[in-house]
Every structure is written in structure tokens, then in C-alpha cells.
């Protein structure tokens, strides 16, 4: 019960931090707020039994913060204080409202039927036929990995790992592509090159 309460408080904190980050006028405070939200997420990871996620989350978090802060510190923010884009805001609020209402019933609000399993009862607990029950029961026997998360990631879902490697490679190449000084050749050398 205490875990639930803590998680609720932390998610509320994340929500508020995100809201401040989006609405505050100073970009640096916005970036710091988003960092605070990220660290709250790391604490939640620890609370709900996911220590595997904290390492990457913290480090990715720090790297993102450093990149964003350097980007802001060396550049002047010349953006004007334009009035809020009312049309877009209204669209997002309307769509978000609908989404929230549907989500409320989808998560079993007011005792709606056929909902997502309630908090604290993942599909693994509901039936032995579920994918993660199969995985966790076989993990030690099949893969020899004591850490079920890594066993699943590296062996059962090894194909996702391939996708991950491709994805991070695409991102690295993409970064190099975008940061090139010159993209197009100009002038006379065009046709011979």
C-alpha cells in the first residue's frame, strides 16, 4: 500500500514538473524541470522492482540534460512571446479530454467491464498462458540467465535486439549526416565528381 501511495505521489510530481517545463517562460528552468521528472521516473523504477531500468534511464537522462543545456547556453533564445495558439490548444484539449475519458473507462473506472487489469495485477499473474509467464518460467532453464529481464531481452526476444542495433546505428549515422558542414557540392565540380 505504501508503494502505491509513493508511486502516486511521484507520478503526480512528474505530471506537475512536466506541466511547469512546458509552460515556464525560461528555457533553462524548463530543461531542469524535465530533468527532475526523469529522476522521479528512476525512483519509480526502483520502487516497482525494475532496477534494470534505472541505470540506462539515469544515464540517458544525464546525457540528454547535458546536450540540451549546452544547446541552450550557447544560443540566444530570440523567440517572441506570441499569444497562445488557441486553435491548436483547443484541438489538443478536446482530443485529450476524449482520450482521458475513454482511458478512464478502459482502466476500469466505475466498474466498466472487460477493462485493463487493475494496477498491481499484471497479465502474468492472471494466467499461466501469458507470454511473460512462459518466459519467466523458462528463462533460467533455457538461457541460464539469472536476470530474467536480460534473459528475455538477449535470448527470447533476440530479434528485437537486432532491431535495436539497427535503430541505434541509424541514429548515429543520422547524427553524422545532419551535423555535416556541407551537404551539397556546389559550383563547377558538380558534374565531374
Amino acid at each position: 500500500m505504501t508503494v502505491e501511495l509513493l508511486v502516486l505521489l511521484l507520478t503526480a510530481f512528474m505530471f506537475l514538473a512536466a506541466l511547469i517545463a512546458v509552460e515556464t517562460s525560461d528555457l533553462l528552468s524548463a530543461v531542469i524541470c524535465i530533468g527532475a521528472a526523469g529522476f522521479a521516473l528512476c525512483v519509480i523504477d526502483l520502487l516497482v522492482g525494475a532496477p534494470d531500468l534505472t541505470f540506462p534511464q539515469v544515464v540517458v537522462e544525464v546525457v540528454t540534460l547535458v546536450l540540451l543545456i549546452r544547446m541552450i547556453m550557447t544560443r540566444q533564445d530570440t523567440s517572441r512571446q506570441t499569444p497562445r495558439d488557441t486553435l491548436r490548444t483547443a484541438v489538443v484539449l478536446a482530443a485529450g479530454g476524449v482520450l482521458l475519458v475513454v482511458a478512464f473507462f478502459a482502466f476500469g473506472g466505475l466498474g466498466a467491464k472487460g477493462s485493463v487489469p487493475p494496477f498491481g495485477q499484471p497479465p502474468m499473474v492472471q494466467s499461466d498462458a501469458s507470454l511473460s509467464a512462459q518466459y519467466i518460467n523458462g528463462a533460467q532453464r533455457d538461457t541460464g540467465a539469472g536476470n530474467a529481464v536480460m534473459g528475455i531481452l538477449m535470448e527470447y526476444r533476440g530479434y528485437d535486439m537486432l532491431g535495436q542495433a539497427a535503430l541505434i546505428f541509424a541514429a548515429i549515422l543520422g547524427g553524422f549526416v545532419i551535423l555535416r558542414k556541407v551537404g551539397r557540392k556546389r559550383g563547377e565540380s558538380e558534374d565531374q565528381a
Binding site: 521516473l41 494496477f119 509467464a133
Partner: protein, 118 residues
């Protein structure tokens, strides 16, 4: 209380969506992308929680059945782990884009960054 937690996670997603759609500053849009990622990771990791559960790591002398009976759901954690990679990849590309856009346009303001549709 469970519903309240899930609704908070959805609220986080909506804040990110709002930043992406309605905000006009490149940095704030990047912040929106980060918020969306946090929201998704939060939603996934919450979906895997079990009451009183602990990390899915085999202790000394523990059998698989005991592990399955006590641990939280590992599969959402695997998805989050993959999604963190996606997040970092996105951040790398989008920060590079933002820096180059600043080089070319001299501003972070999307109102001034509109040479398309010309």
C-alpha cells in the same frame, strides 16, 4: 488508487502531446518529446507491477517457480529498456537537427522557421 496512477501517466502523455502540437519553440518541442517518452515508460513499467512484487532477478538458491510467484512482470521492463534506446536515438537526431536549424535560421522560434509552403 490504481486508476489515479494510470490517469496521471495518461496526463503526462497529454502534456507531452500538447507541447508537441501547440508549442512554437524548438527546445520546448524537444522537451515534449522527452515527456512523451517518460509517459510511455511510466505506463509500461506500471503495467508490469504486481502487489508486493520484487525485481525479476533470481536470488541464491531460488527456484524458477518461486521467482515466478514473487517477481514483477519482466516483459514490460524489456519493452521499456528497448524504448529507452529509441528515446536516446530520437534525442540524438533531434538535438542535431535543432542545432543545425539554429545555424541556418538563427532562432528557435517555429514562427520564424517556415520557409516551406513558400
Amino acid at each position: 488508487m490504481g486508476i489515479a496512477i494510470y490517469m496521471m501517466a495518461f496526463g503526462l502523455l497529454l502534456v507531452g502531446l500538447y507541447a508537441l502540437v501547440a508549442k512554437k519553440n524548438v527546445v520546448r518541442i524537444i522537451i515534449g518529446i522527452a515527456i512523451l517518452d517518460y509517459g510511455i515508460n511510466l505506463l509500461l513499467v506500471l503495467m508490469g507491477y504486481r502487489h508486493g512484487g520484487s525485481a525479476p532477478i533470481l536470488g541464491k538458491g531460488e527456484t524458477t517457480a518461486q521467482l515466478a510467484a514473487r517477481s514483477v512482470d519482466p516483459l514490460p521492463q524489456v519493452m521499456v529498456l528497448t524504448n529507452i534506446v529509441v528515446e536516446l536515438a530520437m534525442v540524438v537526431v533531434v538535438v542535431a537537427l535543432a542545432i543545425r536549424i539554429y545555424d541556418r535560421y538563427g532562432t528557435f522560434d517555429m514562427n520564424d522557421i517556415r520557409r516551406l509552403r513558400g
